[in-house]
Symmetry: C2
Subunit: 261 residues, 2 copies
């Protein structure tokens, strides 16, 4: 197995770019799964693995997982511990990094992929994004539709907070969210936009149509006008206290709970 | 108004201690509300204000809020901009800091303060803690009971993510959570502990008793055995996907939603 000790190695440089730079992920159509837990999920979900990197400590930690990764990957590298502070995105690195192909869901299959979708309009906080994907997986949503301006699903921070759910959930990343919503309405979906408007239909009272999409918007500004205009209606989460709003991740979780019950 | 320019000023040193050190907050029974939004909430909720500090920029930003604070506070200080990088806990400080008395709820009034409580057992993440307090406020819970080992409600991080709800919610901080739960059962409360146990009663199916407390536990380890033994039973959030658990803040939010509907 090839050993890498220099930080100037081209493969290490690309690995760091993939960890830190969304454009590098887009251009190469790859991302990095860091740590033992995500490596296990990579194997379990059958992702395409291009390269794996591990420190000696990482190999020990992974045990059988490392061998399985090496069999799957086109290339495997042992890297020197000293490189890790540059590569890792966490405080206590576990010494294992898998470069995987980003999984894509064909847009043509969206309408037939299920009956319960959550759509996200410019949701920016990576922690919220990860929590929402994890919750959607746990509560049994059929997929997530992420519009332009959302946090990158395959960034290290989002991946960490999904706890692996990002590899299991079907996630569509779409350029024109309003257009996608119109298309789903044409396919018989009821489309609702979560909004702070107490004249709207109320979560907990509405019976969702057989096929439903609910959109959750940006943390500070909600759903954009164009996207809101593509909806059948607005959806309000009733609040009793004096708090003016809910955290976007919490709002999405309550919607998922009601939508998938 | 007194001006402070030196970082060696004793009042500045104490302000920094209050921002960074839980023990300093406990010993002095005070905390710092930073920023314009929290300053407004301090006034709205009628907290006791001991000292206020602002930079010239902070005074301009606050407008009428600064005057109202100065009338309420025992002491007001203008501080030099150069001190702010040491005092502030955020990247873009707004230049206003209120030192307030920590509000305490008498334990003797707990049982008569409402019918819907959320209890937290060693919940450690400040972001989760803040989100839960904000959600409990929005959904109309009657109070939160925080056991030993929880993140400090009056730490800057928790306060920021509560968006001011920490001043509105009734929050009891108790030393012996198991004992408090036993006492509430004696007062006619049904006490449930959220647990990853699918033989337990299920959220969404159970009808909660007239008076209910649900306990949510530590992010990694759940509820401690002693506290679990003080419950009437365990409560399970049904999951459909392959995700093994929900984020603690999400779990608490779903419980609050069902408990307060």
């Amino acid at each position: 197995m090839e050993r890498i000790t220099s930080r100037d190695n081209e493969k290490i440089k690309q690995l760091i770019r993939l960890q830190t730079n969304r454009k590098a992920r887009r251009e190469s159509d790859t991302f990095v799964a860091e740590g033992v837990r995500l490596a296990q999920e990579v194997l379990r979900c059958g992702l395409t693995v291009l390269q794996v990197f591990a420190t000696e400590e990482g190999v020990r930690r992974c045990g059988g997982v490392w061998e399985a990764l090496c069999q799957k990957a086109e290339q495997a590298y042992l890297i020197h511990e000293s490189l890790e502070s540059r590569i890792s995105e966490v405080k206590a690195p576990q010494g294992v990094y898998c470069v995987c192909r980003i999984p894509h869901q064909p847009l043509s299959e969206l309408a037939s992929a299920g009956r319960r979708f959550l759509a996200l309009d410019r949701l920016q906080d990576p922690g919220n994004m990860g929590t929402i994907i994890r919750t959607a997986d746990a509560l049994g949503a059929d997929g997530i539709i992420a519009g332009e301006g959302c946090a990158d699903v395959f960034s290290p921070k989002v991946l960490r907070s999904t706890m692996g759910s990002a590899f299991r959930m079907k996630i569509w990343t779409v350029e024109d969210l309003a257009q996608t919503m119109k298309r789903l309405r044409g396919e018989g979906f009821g489309v609702y936009g979560a909004a702070l408007d107490d004249t709207a239909v109320r979560l907990g009272e509405i019976t969702f149509p057989e096929k439903t999409v609910v959109i959750v918007g940006n943390e500070g500004n909600g759903i954009s006008d164009t996207v809101l205009q593509s909806c059948d209606g607005k959806l309000f989460i009733p609040m009793k206290g004096e708090a003016e709003s809910l955290n976007a991740g919490v709002a999405a979780s309550l919607i998922l709970w009601e939508m998938c019950r």
